[in-house]
């Protein structure tokens, strides 16, 4: 067997030009496909980071059932004890209270629906990027009870400027519709359309008072150390929630708050897989062609080999092994270049600002940092391996069944 491999390897290099051309085609195919998957990975990362940084944080705590049915009545009754417990958990880097509800903002001439969020300006600014994304005016100050900041698209729609008065209407805890007059302090741009067009923030205490909520809050948002390493943090928080409250609370990671994020990757990868099939078919064709030509070139030699006693399966293996080695060398080079490309782009970032609107409606950044997962790499290699075998089967089969006499005499 080893001899067969040695012979195949040497055979491969006998016709350098042909080998080189096919290796280029495999190289290009593999590089292209892995680049596509790397892009998808970077894209998903971008969406996840965006969601986390602009609003969701790493973990959210609510009254049970709130995520499915966000009603003001489903609130955390006694947040202070919970906060005290949370502060004892070492993995909790930041935590903030929030009240969230849907309301209406009206000016003298305009009206718009909004998702109004009562925030604690200080801790919130350390959890989300809103404080750093102000386009106009200023972020809320801790003691500002009458200020409101809006997403810039929402502000545009309402045609408000900094300092303008705006009326917020929302349904309170007691089911009575409440209204409050607020002054626009600033506008923000997170890059996610859903937020910039819809969200507004005001002071938590002011909102509690307006909605007659007392000390209750809708959610507590938590920032840990690493968005992808929440497996230890989450149970600790669940425990803290259990101790501090009689109420049943739900503790959700970002992935549980927005399962759509994961599903997006599935969708994008699907598109890639279809093209993967097409590209690999193109490569398979090239390989099959090469092996057919290789066989015909050496048909007399194969005939002599068989005449000297080489068994049919060995001839078969010669062809298949040559095809596989040809392919896998191309794959190795292709993956090598992919790795370097991804390393470079992963560092520098890929700028797609020309489609920023589409990206913001999907909730992704304009600059993407691609990366390759281990799975991407071995999948590409494995599929190439199988494809090489598949492509060479027919030619190898024909070669194995050559009649020595006819082959030697072939002109």
């Amino acid at each position: 067997m080893l001899t067969l491999i040695k012979i195949s390897w040497r055979n491969m290099w006998r016709n350098t030009r042909r080998t080189a051309i096919i290796m280029v085609s495999v190289f290009v195919g593999v590089w292209g496909m892995s680049a596509a998957f790397a892009y998808n990975n970077g894209f998903l990362d971008s969406m996840i980071n965006m969601a986390i940084e602009s609003h969701i944080g790493h973990i959210e705590i609510h009254a049970e059932g709130y995520n499915q049915d966000p009603q003001i009545s489903l609130s955390i009754q006694d947040p202070d004890k919970l906060i005290a417990e949370l502060d004892r958990v070492p993995g909790v880097v930041e935590r903030a209270r929030r009240i969230k509800t849907m309301g209406m903002l009206t000016t003298a001439r305009e009206i718009s629906g909004t998702m109004i969020i009562g925030i604690e300006p200080e801790p919130e600014s350390r959890i989300t990027m809103i404080a750093d994304s102000m386009t106009d005016g200023e972020y809320l100050k801790g003691d500002d009870m009458r200020g409101i900041i809006l997403g810039h698209e929402l502000a545009e729609k309402l045609e408000v400027e900094i300092g303008d008065k705006i009326v917020l209407q929302a349904q309170g805890y007691d089911n009575e519709v409440q209204a409050i007059g607020l002054r626009v302090r600033g506008t923000f741009r997170t890059g996610t359309q859903a937020i910039d067009k819809f969200f507004a923030c005001m002071n938590l205490s002011a909102m509690q008072e307006m909605l007659n909520m007392g000390e209750r809050v809708s959610e507590i948002v938590i920032l840990g150390n690493d968005a992808y390493k929440l497996q230890t943090l989450k149970p600790e928080i669940v425990a803290a929630a259990g101790i501090s409250s009689d109420q049943t609370l739900e503790v959700l990671t970002w992935g549980e708050v927005m399962p759509e994020l994961e599903q997006w990757l599935v969708l994008m990868d699907l598109g890639n897989y279809i093209f993967l099939v097409i590209i690999y078919m193109a490569m398979a064709f090239g390989i099959a062609n090469t092996m057919i030509m290789a066989i015909f070139e050496r048909i007399r030699e194969l005939g002599i080999l068989k005449a000297l006693g080489t068994k049919p399966w060995q001839v078969f293996m010669l062809i298949v092994i040559e095809a596989v080695m040809l392919c896998m060398t191309g794959v190795a080079l292709g993956l090598g270049l992919s790795y370097l490309t991804v390393l470079y782009l992963g560092h520098v970032g890929l700028d797609q600002s020309f489609i920023s609107e589409a990206l913001s409606s999907l909730g992704a950044h304009s600059v993407i940092y691609p990366w390759l997962s281990f799975e991407n790499i071995w999948m590409a290699a494995l599929l190439a391996f199988l494809m090489a075998i598949g492509a060479s089967l027919y030619p190898a089969f024909k070669a194995a069944r050559l009649k020595p006499v006819d082959a030697i005499r072939f002109v």
Binding site: N15, R18, I21, S25, I111, N175, L267, F275, A358
Partner: protein
């Protein structure tokens, strides 16, 4: 012209080589045709489903309404406009609408959303909403108290068929407006805007809510063919003389869809590029090998006085003829497949991925069955592309052939 005869004979002399080259070109043509038509089909589907949700191919508004929507910026339907909309052959359907925004409550739950007043009999052909009713019935003309909401809003409000909704908003002339509507239908069109944040009632209903006169805020138009859009818009220009109206095409109504399609198209193009490179390698290989093998032949020809440029032309001619044959075969096999997918079957990748996939697709409002779209320019472009690539790939081998040394060739014999 003798070289053409020789080229033709050469092709048949070297059956294997020619066969391989022709096969490579045929395969390339097939793949390119397939990928390109699929890509176009996908985009067309995205656009059409986006358009048929609610916006239509274009809308007519009162000037200034699009940039700054307000119920006060309404217009009345000039009879000449009605005539035009009813008779123009490019139009598949059109609808009269009034749009606003407000607060929607059911018992003690509130939501906010857009309010859309429609004329049900016109909307049936205009949007897909009537096909996507999950519970209850679609609206009927003239019904002033009924409304339809999306599944997501129904869930948020804990409301069902027969329940009452209180809608409050700012009406015409900035008067506060409140009215009670009864839910007669619940739909799911897979557009978050519609499913979660919209209430649809009849024109009569919304006029009574808003204290509005017999006017509209928008007219939505659906065409038979997307490509008629430009010409149709030109024909429509005349309505600007009927009053201060503006015409807004879907590209401005749904700009992120445009970018999304452009993004997908860019990717499709890149992939196609890769496919082309890979197959071009295959074509290069077969032609090159064939040329190198024939060095004796070329050598003798040169020894006999054939000029190098003629050998070059000979090889190029052979390659082009093989390309044409290959392309013909590629189209012969490819076109029926692509056309078949266009009408009848389509590929359903989601069902290949399982139950979960189908749900994921549904969530994003994407029709899971993928069709191709065969357009004549795509076919011509593929043909041209394949020929050009073969010519480029044949260039180097042809040069090599032309430079064959007669002395070496003779020595070999």
């Amino acid at each position: 012209m003798v070289f053409l005869k020789i080229a033709w004979r050469d092709i048949w002399r070297y059956k294997l080589r020619s066969g391989l080259t022709i096969a490579a070109v045929a395969f390339a043509t097939f793949l390119v045709l397939f990928s390109a038509t699929f890509s176009r089909g996908g985009h067309e589907q995205m656009i059409v489903s986006g358009i048929k949700m609610q916006h239509g191919h274009l809308q007519i508004h009162r000037t200034g309404h699009f940039d700054d929507p307000s119920v006060d910026k309404s217009f009345s339907l000039d009879p000449r406009l009605i005539e035009l909309l009813n008779t123009d052959p490019a139009i598949a359907a059109w609808g009269e609408r009034i749009r606003s925004e407000g607060q929607i409550s059911h018992q003690n739950r509130t939501s906010i959303g857009s309010l859309m007043g429609i004329k049900p009999s016109m909307e049936i052909d205009l949007t897909v909403i009537d096909d996507r009713m999950s519970r209850g019935d679609f609206l009927k003309d003239g019904d002033t108290i009924s409304a339809m909401i999306g599944e997501d809003m129904a869930k948020n409000l804990h409301a069902d068929i027969g329940d009452e909704l209180i809608i409050s908003t700012m009406g015409y002339d900035h008067l506060p407006a409140d009215k009670i509507f009864k839910i007669v239908g619940i739909y799911k069109v897979n557009s978050p805007d519609l499913d979660r944040n919209a209430v649809i009632m009849s024109l009569a209903g919304i006029r009574s809510l808003l204290y509005m006169p017999e006017e509209l805020t928008e007219v939505s138009v659906l065409l038979n063919e997307s490509r008629d859009l430009k010409h149709f818009m030109q024909r429509l220009e005349i309505i600007k003389s009927y009053g201060s109206l503006e015409i807004i095409p879907w590209q401005e109504l749904i700009p992120d869809l445009v970018q999304f399609v452009a993004w997908d198209a860019a990717f499709g193009f890149i992939y196609l590029g890769f496919v082309v490179i890979i197959v071009a390698c295959g074509v290069l290989m077969t032609i090159l090998m064939s040329v190198l093998e024939r060095f004796k032949e070329f050598g003798i020809m040169k020894a006999l006085g054939t000029r190098p440029v003629w050998i070059f032309r000979l090889v190029m001619a052979e390659s082009i003829i093989m390309a044409l044959i290959g392309a013909a075969i590629g189209f012969a096999t490819g076109l029926p497949v692509c056309l078949g997918f266009v009408e009848r079957w389509g590929i359903d990748p989601a069902s290949m991925g399982g139950e979960e996939m189908v749900e994921t697709y549904a969530k994003f409002g994407i029709d899971t069955v993928m069709h191709t779209k065969v357009e004549s320019w795509v076919v011509l472009a593929t043909l041209a592309g394949v020929i050009i690539i073969t010519v480029i790939m044949a260039f180097f081998p042809a040069m090599r052939a032309a430079k064959t040394s007669p002395v070496e060739a003779i020595r070999y014999i």
